[in-house]
Symmetry: C3
């Protein structure tokens, strides 16, 4: 049974997502449809791109990801489909798919132009229903991607900044890219990059600072710290996260999306209160 | 695979919707279940009826719509099932289904009375679980609608006001019937009715006014206007909508459900600030 | 088609639930997945346990319940699977499953230890994805429960207080255990226990009091009372509920979780205002 995974900023108050499912099942009645989330902040391409990147690798081979965070709907932004060695991605060409396909072996990118696979009438406001849902359903049914339009060059797609923290021998600078429901602040520092940096500085002592609060260790779980205490850990995506055990780190420390955390070598272990 | 589409005001905080799915799959294990939305404002039959009307035509033939916005549960209001040439509708007889079946070729309406197709114990508070879910599942399995109760006359059903704006040769008056998650204000003016009126006035210039704000054109997409500017467009349901590009029209213009937009012929093009 | 029902405190803003579905369908592509709710207040084991208890009996035989409200994730709390005569339950051993399995005929309890059935890398923060989802999917595929780890004694599991009100010949004391979306206050008094108590007092008159408000009768439906009036009824779980017809009882009466309602015999019928 083919799987189609939906990710949008449509919310669940309105019928938009339900209608997309109606369109999909009209074309591919046997599809399993998963909701990744529909609560991406309206028109927040970065939040949508991060969510898709964090989720896609856990789905079965052949899954079609239909992602719609589309502030440019009705303008000349392109609609695309991407085939990788494992998956299909369908959505607007505005960066939303970039982090996911950037870590995949891309086989083909096409611009969606063949209206044989669209709904008969195309609105200017809801391509999720009129283009992206029916194309995803036809892909799930096995229609080859080349049927949907002409191939375009991967290099010509709209990109997002790299999902990686920057570092040199002295300092590592990461950014908060997402605050989740529990108030955990998720950064763009991957575990592997942190380990590489640690090795490059000879595994010396280090001090991480954000919003005047310092840390000198990485916890293995929330429960390892006393309740109410802030901590650093690598979360389920292996991205560095600032959290508070049974609390809300964003509120407790005043952290917002875009804030920086700096990690520097230090001679002594941090003392309490630093 | 039969499709059952659910629309309720139950929210997703509680288990009510999950329980309905358990009941459905106990009877019809192969059903595909779509959530249209469960965030209809509690007991708001009009909002529920509009959502159902906007969604139903995008579903595959044979879909069973199980709609439960039911302030009269436990009283003498009737429970009904409706078979149209394309679909089945199941829910309370309180107007909720009216706009949808009003645009369909109705084959039969029955009052749900045969408790062979209900859960063994019927509560006074949760007919979604005890009556509407099991009846929907039995319909999806192919039980003929006449099995569920005696036929009743379409004319005897509880109705809602027509989902159409009123107009004469001078003026067209539409009402805001829904504010969506993005703050778009959706009216009861259909694109076809607007075009008919335009023709009847000889395609003269016109001016639309709501909350002291005037418009003299219809946009084709949100992106066509500068950011933050209000605009009119026909939305994905082909209903006139007041929107703000990358903004919230309801907040920006102070529009509420029930507000009127008047469209009148005018001699000159509106000047800025009018 | 096997059914897997999910209950978590993950919310739907993030991708956690979607990722669990990806993991499940990677292992058991034909599973029907129901969302019971993902809006359990973060880390509220009692609210989660109540929701699971209220829902499980409406699902088809063989359903696998995958419940994750797991403040101790990453600590030494055990992960368990339980087979009853009808169902499977998978989750942390922290009380969450207790009320549900406490009313079932338990066949076997195992501690989840066989990492052959886990994801290859186990995080310290997201056992829903790494352990509970894959184990649930393997159970749905028919792997015997004894494959997942050693049997443990039912008596050794973490328990919750009994889901029953206490009573003697004079007085019955129940507690508010949940406030639902409509503001209905749900207590731990079961209909059968109330009927038993009534019989034990010789079916005399009684008076129920909560927050200074008194009641001397049980309504059969919300609609039976005038709008805005508070009432008592046995709800869809056959638990005593304090509600307001077309209103919000928790706000109107100032009721919070944990508040007590006392029911005592009385000589006279309550007069207005008592």
């Amino acid at each position: 049974m083919p799987v189609i995974a939906l990710l949008t900023d449509f919310g669940t108050q309105d019928i938009y997502v339900g209608v997309m499912k109606g369109v999909i099942w009209s074309i591919c009645p046997e599809a399993q449809i998963a909701d990744l989330t529909h609560e991406i902040p309206p028109q927040d391409i970065v939040a949508g791109g991060l969510a898709l990147w964090g989720a896609f690798r856990f789905f079965p081979k052949g899954t079609v990801f239909c992602a719609v965070v589309d502030p440019g709907v009705g303008t000349k932004r392109r609609a695309i489909a991407v085939q990788t060695s494992q998956y299909f991605f369908v959505g607007p060409d505005n960066g939303l798919l970039w982090w996911s396909i950037g870590e995949s072996h891309v086989l083909k990118v096409v611009e969606l132009k063949n209206d044989k696979y669209f709904l008969p009438a195309i609105s200017n406001t809801f391509h999720g229903r009129d283009i992206f849902a029916p194309v995803s359903a036809h892909l799930a049914k096995g229609i080859p991607i080349s049927e949907f339009g002409l191939e375009i060059d991967l290099d010509k797609l709209v990109k997002l900044p790299p999902l990686r923290a920057s570092f040199d021998e002295q300092v590592l600078v990461a950014q908060v890219i997402h605050i989740d429901r529990f108030g955990n602040a998720i950064t763009n520092l991957r575990r592997k990059d942190f380990e590489t940096w640690l090795e490059s500085i000879g595994n010396k002592l280090w001090l991480a600072t954000i919003k005047g609060k310092s840390f000198n260790s990485i916890a293995k779980s929330y429960g390892e710290c006393p309740e109410g205490e802030p901590l650093l850990l690598f979360n389920s995506y292996d991205l560095l996260e600032i959290a508070v055990n049974k609390g809300n780190a964003a509120i407790a420390l005043g952290i917002r999306k875009g804030d920086q955390i700096k990690i520097q070598t230090t001679k002594e272990r941090a003392t309490e209160g630093v």
